[in-house]
């Protein structure tokens, strides 16, 4: 078969502020044949996105393609004048970005944006192009394909928008499709429908594709070949099967080792011995303005244990952490910290209560004040809660840095001088500086590379053993929670649907939603996608989207087992099951989903 794209000895350089050009991509060569999907994998900073952009002859502002050839359909596009190169984009090659929400213009109807590129290239008039787009919507399995183009971007769900983004990229019938982390920002249940749509349309149209991702399990589902990158250089290249099962290079093995097994394959932790709760959230209802996010949520965090809170985006996980921290006022219910009821607002809480419960935010980049040195960031809570000053304070800052495995010298640096993983460690050290009884971890590993995230999880575990601190660990990553949490709370649309010891939650019987979540976590097994996408659960789940604040069971509209007349009208009561498990579902125990 012929090569659609050949890149020979590509060098890309980037210029940091005030500096000289430094190499980002150092001599990478690759080729993609017709109908083939090549995956580029690597950690952030490995140059995978830069290479995928170079395949269009494009370099981001501040970067330049310094050397190398990019052959697309038998032409060296680097030799073309800029105008001709521009004409190729959206015609012979198209690009799907990570965030569809950021790529669509919110002020224009979807249909108009989908046909914009072919219309610009003169591929036909608006009517024929719209008809072709409707055909694409149908192939991508979008609901009501005839009318979806009439909608505005905010009127469809995130997963649908990502598929519409694919429709936009495919509308010009490209020979090469570049997908840059297209499912990374999506929830696992949504990821399945999008992955399947992408894979089917690539097969159907015989398009060549470059798939950029850091998620090996996703790669196993879509790629024919894999190119492993590190620091802008090729580490290893080979067929998917070989890379996944017989990696030759050590770095590839490190990447594979950082992948956590699917939650039902983890040896779950036994429930911790009963301890007095350090946080007790009782029947809390909270929200913003007229919107109710959490309704009637009760969660206990026993001392020196880990309680995982899982659920999809928008389910109220972060709101729960903010309510406990006093940042978002609650409307009903109480938060009890270490046996004493806490004031709803942070400003009404005494310092001793604030000290015991610290919060760590998801984005380490924005959680540290860029104008303060690490020493000041860590020193402030020491001063604030314990009155430490001067030499004593500096000594404690150094100890804290060592506690999170960072060199003492980092105290004099600014956050901008640290990598993402290092920032997250400082973020954690700031919480530890207060010497708290419990730390609220809000998606602390979600923005990190798998290898770095694994390191942070290990650190959290060792700190728990060393200091006896408890965590409320909020995450959408079930595998991490399963391997780490003593107890698990599953949230859906602001309600607790299942909770109990992690062993009981991750083994049958399941709440139908827990079952869906578990089965949606991609496995590093080729062909997993085909098995899971065709189940009745997956189909029911992708047919509708989350409704917050409706009547009845919130999951009823996406549940394959919903009992009509009951689930959609009456909210299920929380039932106690053997093994300390609590499930909110109308189904009789015998009919709850197993394995």
């Amino acid at each position: 078969m012929t090569d659609v794209l050949t890149i020979k000895n590509l060098h890309v350089e980037g210029r940091p502020p005030g500096g000289d050009y430094v190499p980002i991509v150092k001599g990478v060569s690759l080729n993609v044949r017709k109908g083939e999907v090549l995956a580029l994998i690597g950690e952030s900073g490995s140059g995978k996105s830069t290479i995928s952009l170079a395949a269009m002859g494009f370099a981001r502002p501040g970067c330049r393609i310094s050397r190398g050839e990019v052959w697309l359909n038998g032409r060296d596009i680097m030799a073309l004048p800029p105008h001709d190169r521009h004409a190729l984009r959206g015609d012979e090659v198209s690009y799907v970005a990570q965030s569809a929400a950021a790529s669509f213009n919110p002020a224009l109807r979807i249909g108009r944006q989908v046909i914009e590129a072919p219309l610009w290239h003169g591929a036909g008039d608006a009517a024929t192009l719209t008809a072709a787009a409707v055909e694409l919507y149908r192939k991508l399995d979008l609901p009501s394909p005839e009318t979806v183009g009439e909608k505005f971007p905010h009127q469809v769900s995130g997963g649908q928008l990502q598929r519409l983004m694919a429709a936009m990229a495919m509308s010009c019938g490209p020979d090469l499709l570049i997908l840059d982390e297209p499912t990374t920002a999506l929830d696992v249940t949504t990821q399945i429908e999008v992955l399947k749509a992408f894979r089917d349309i690539i097969r159907d149209q015989g398009t060549a594709a470059i798939y950029v991702t850091h998620d090996l399990a996703v790669v196993a589902q879509v790629a024919d070949r894999i190119l492993v990158l590190k620091n802008g250089e090729t580490v290893e290249e080979g067929p998917t099967n070989q890379i996944l099962h017989a990696p030759r290079h050590d770095y590839t093995r490190t990447l594979m080792a950082a992948v956590r097994p699917a939650p039902h394959l983890v040896d779950h932790i036994d429930p911790a011995a009963a301890q007095a709760p350090v946080i007790s959230v009782r029947n809390v209802t909270a929200g913003y303005g007229a919107l109710t996010i959490l309704s009637d949520v009760s969660v206990d965090v026993p001392a020196a244990s880990v309680v995982g809170v899982i659920g999809e985006s928008g389910c109220g996980k972060s709101t729960l952490a903010r309510v406990v921290a006093g940042l978002t006022p609650l409307r009903e219910g109480t938060v009890i910290l270490d046996g004493k009821p806490a004031a709803p607002a942070v400003r009404d809480r005494p310092r001793a209560a604030l000290k015991d419960c610290q919060i760590v935010f998801q984005m380490a980049d924005t959680a540290l004040n860029p104008r303060q040195r690490i020493g000041d960031i860590l020193g402030r809570p020491l001063d604030f809660y314990q009155g430490l000053k001067g030499r004593e304070r500096a000594e404690r800052v150094a100890e804290l840095l060592e506690l999170v495995d960072l060199p003492r010298g980092f105290a004099s640096r600014f956050p901008g001088e640290l990598s993402g993983g290092q920032k997250q460690r400082v973020n954690l050290a700031r919480a530890l500086a207060a010497d708290p009884k419990v730390i609220l971890c809000d998606e602390v590993t979600s923005a990190l590379d798998t290898v770095v995230a694994a390191g942070v999880i290990e650190l959290l575990k060792s700190l728990k053993d060393k200091l006896g601190v408890a965590y409320m660990f909020i995450s959408h990553d079930l595998s991490t929670v399963a391997s780490f949490a003593d107890e698990v709370v599953v949230l859906y649309a602001g309600r607790v649907v299942e909770k109990g010891p992690s062993k009981a939650v991750f083994s049958p019987p399941f709440h139908p939603y827990t079952k869906l979540l578990l089965s949606s976590v991609p496995e590093m097994r080729q062909g997993w996608l085909d098995g899971v996408a065709d189940t009745s659960e997956a189909r029911a789940a992708s047919a509708a989207s989350v409704v917050i604040g409706g009547t009845g069971c919130p999951f009823a509209n996406r549940c394959a087992l919903a009992i009509s007349g009951t689930c959609d009208t009456t909210a299920p009561a929380v039932r106690d099951l053997p093994g300390d498990l609590q499930i909110a579902c109308h189904l009789p125990v015998a009919e709850l989903p197993v394995s």
Binding site: G14, R15, P16, P17, G18, G19, V22, S44, G45, R60, P61, G62, C63, A325, G326, L327, V346, R347, R349, R351, L354, Q358, I359, F361, Q362, M363, T366, A367, L368, N369, P370, R371, Q372, R380, P381, F384, F414, G416, E417, L418, S419, R430, A434
Partner: protein
């Protein structure tokens, strides 16, 4: 990552980190020139501020003084040098006043929110609804033409714009995670304002200061031209234009030279602000790429 070398820039030598464009360099040189004249004016100027050196009024360039004489036969060159002092000093004071009011109230509104924000914002909007020159005319007309009234009035009128900018900055930065972290720790409003929000809004505020300074020069010169600003015999560029505008019909450049000086000062300041903003934005764009 190569973060260490990239972000070490602020600690490197000041001049290496500046990365001046040629327009910014030229603008900086012009501003420096005026600043030196303002500081050492009395020693440089060949004649006194109000000294009449010639019987000939509106003498052309080269005759009488270096740049000719004005309507009373005073040296235009000397008055220009004295004028830069008045013009820049008054502009600086009014801009400082506008920032003192605008930034304090703007950040207070952004942090305290609620009724305080509503009341202050509506009052500021009411002031902004008036054309600023008209507003200044009314106030100065009511309280008389003294330097104190002039400076306070212009400062207050300009502070409305500063208020809007600081309030927006305060709202933007106030929802960032590091501010939330400070709130969760239990920090008071004063700490959050001075340690978390203010240091992170310095760059846009410095740019805003430059723009307000420019605007304040134009505003003050305009008022002086209307006879409501600086009063004779003191020298001010706006006033000099007004004094000598009659000479235009006699072919004298005595009114054009101070006008050109006002232009050189304001255009230079604008160019410098442009460069500063581009540099700030450029850095953020490049930081994103470097990831």
């Amino acid at each position: 990552m190569s973060d260490v070398s990239d972000h070490g820039a602020p600690r490197a030598s000041v001049f290496a980190g500046l990365r001046l464009t040629w327009t910014a360099g030229l603008a900086g040189a012009i501003l420096l020139f005026w600043l030196v004249l303002a500081l050492f004016g009395p020693w440089i100027a060949p004649h006194g501020e109000a000294e009449i050196i010639s019987g000939t009024t509106f003498a052309p360039i080269g005759e009488g003084g270096l740049l000719g004489t004005d309507k009373l036969g005073r040296d235009v060159f000397s008055r220009l040098i004295y004028g830069v002092r008045t013009t820049m000093l008054l502009a600086l004071i009014t801009t400082l006043i506008s920032f003192a009011f605008g930034v304090t109230l703007g950040f207070a509104a952004a942090i305290l929110k609620g009724w305080f924000d509503v009341v202050i914002s509506r009052i500021v909007e009411a002031f902004m609804a008036f054309p600023s020159t008209l507003l200044a005319l009314v106030v100065i007309g009511a309280f008389g033409t003294s330097i104190t009234v002039l400076v306070l009035t212009v400062g207050l009128v300009l502070s409305t714009g500063v208020f809007r900018v600081s309030r927006a900055l305060g709202y933007d930065i106030g929802v960032m995670d590091f501010v939330e972290a400070a709130r969760a720790r239990g920090e008071g409003t004063w700490w959050i304002l001075t340690r978390e929000i203010l240091p992170n809004s310095m760059a846009p505020l410095i740019a805003e200061f430059g723009l307000r300074f420019t605007f304040s020069i134009l505003f003050l010169s305009g008022l002086s031209f209307l006879g409501l600003g600086v009063q004779e015999p003191a020298a001010d560029w706006g006033l000099m234009v007004q004094e000598n505008v009659g000479g235009l019909f006699l072919g004298s450049s005595a009114a054009l030279i101070p006008a050109a000086c006002i232009a050189s000062l304001t255009v230079s300041m604008n160019l410098l602000v442009d460069w500063f903003q581009q540099r700030q934005q450029g850095e953020t764009v490049l930081e994103k790429i470097d990831q």
